[in-house]
Amino acid sequence: MNEFLTKIAAILEVDEVKESDELKAFPQWDSLSVLSVIAMLDANYGVNLRAADLGPIKSAGDLWRLVQSRKRT
């Protein structure tokens, strides 16, 4: 989880992202960041998400749980 949050923080160009942080509240959360997150999840976790999958996601923790559920299936 920590490693995951570090990777998200790097994409959003901030020092730290917490599990409860709302992703859409970051000013850098735009289509470019979404694409970067999708690429990062594919490369590091073998999970292929679409931008639409991220629609209902609120916090960084929500995204982490979505990735974990996709990894199992």
Binding site: L32, V34, N48, A51
Partner: protein, 355 residues
């Protein structure tokens, strides 16, 4: 679907790009985004310079310019052209086929086949497959495959999703029978259920262009475009390429009994540098073997970008020697296609500016 072709070869490739160059930095103020984010986009995607036609230039103009270049230099003669195969999504008119317009403008013979094919970014591979099939006929000695699009004319300058990557271009590839006993493997897949990922909604018979379809609408994420404009679901296309292309190429190499290491170059359609580097990572191909530098110099001109990757990066190698290459195209349709062949000994392999 798998294909095998015997005794066929590419004998020359010419690419034509408009002389008119635009720069991302000059145009990024059109977007409703903070400048820092646009610069980040430039850095990640590899956007920089691109070539666009003037608003009145059509595909037949680029094609005639390129064919005249070949005819004037004796690299091709009029009577050698038995087939003019044009792959485009931006025809001059709905009727007649643009390949016939090109034939007429150049005064080519009547005893020939002119054929338009509507294909997007996989159009180079699909066009080669069609050219090889036609060369089975004894009466067909040379096929001139033209890939060309001027789709910058159908993109919204206020759509950061697609505008900064678009380029205009054409390529002319001469395809003929090979005296050597060569074998070319190809495969392709199509999925029309995902056709909305890349489309121009209006302007055809389903939704004719009207004052309403020309109105700029908020497409979300601060991008503005009209129904007359080309739209792309960027993340869906990214996902499509990462999921579908690696297994396609694996399967191609398996049916050809070839290893990844035996391939000198993986020459792909050029959507942007980011997507190609992620594809190379996934396929464990070194970046040097998969060029991704077309968009930063010329923009993405659809089916002609793959030939541009060849003429821009490998011109002298392919005129003076041979390489084992895997070419792969992917895009609207959706369509993904790949081909494995020995490419080289080309009588011409060059780029020219259209002015």
């Amino acid at each position: 679907m798998n294909f095998i072709f015997r005794r066929k070869r590419i004998s020359g490739i010419l690419t034509v790009v408009p002389a008119n160059e635009r720069s991302f930095v000059e145009e990024m103020r059109n977007f409703n985004f903070p400048e820092a984010r646009s610069l980040k986009l430039k850095e990640v995607m590899g956007y920089n310079k691109r070539r666009l036609v003037e608003p009145h230039v059509c595909v037949s103009d680029l094609a005639v310019f390129g064919l005249q270049h070949l005819l004037e230099r004796g690299l091709l003669t009029r009577d050698q052209i038995d087939v003019l195969l044009l792959v485009t999504q931006s025809p001059d008119h709905f009727i007649p086929p643009t390949s016939n317009i090109i034939q007429g403008r150049l005064g080519l013979k009547q005893d020939m086949l002119c054929l338009d094919i509507n294909q997007a970014c996989a159009g180079f591979v699909v066009g080669l497959i069609e050219a090889f099939l036609l060369l089975e006929q004894e009466s067909v000695r040379k096929v001139v495959l033209i890939n060309g699009d001027v789709l910058s004319r159908k993109t919204s300058p206020k759509d950061r999703n697609i505008y900064p990557l678009m380029g205009d271009a054409a390529s002319l590839t001469v395809v003929e029978r090979d005296a050597e006993d060569s074998v070319i493997h190809a495969n392709l897949k199509m999925d029309g259920s995902r056709h909305e990922a890349l489309m121009i909604p209006a302007g055809g018979f389903r939704l004719p262009s009207s004052p309403e379809t020309a109105v700029l609408e908020d497409a979300g994420d601060n991008n503005l475009r009209a129904k007359d404009h080309l739209r792309m679901d960027g993340s869906a296309i990214f996902n499509f390429v990462q999921v579908e292309v690696p297994p396609l190429i694996e399967s191609l190499l398996a049916s050809a009994g070839a290893s990844m290491d035996s391939v000198d170059y993986f020459l792909c359609h050029q959507p942007n540098r980011f997507m190609l580097q992620k594809l190379a990572d996934k396929m464990k191909v070194p970046y040097a073997k998969m060029p991704s530098n077309v968009v930063e110099h010329f923009g993405n001109g659809g089916g002609a970008t793959l030939p541009i990757a060849i003429t821009f990066n490998l011109a002298s190698q392919l005129r003076n020697g041979h390489c084992q290459v895997c070419v792969a195209g992917f895009g609207g349709g959706l369509v993904w296609a790949s081909m494995l062949m020995r490419l080289g000994g080309l009588s011409f392999c060059e780029m020219i500016d259209f002015a």
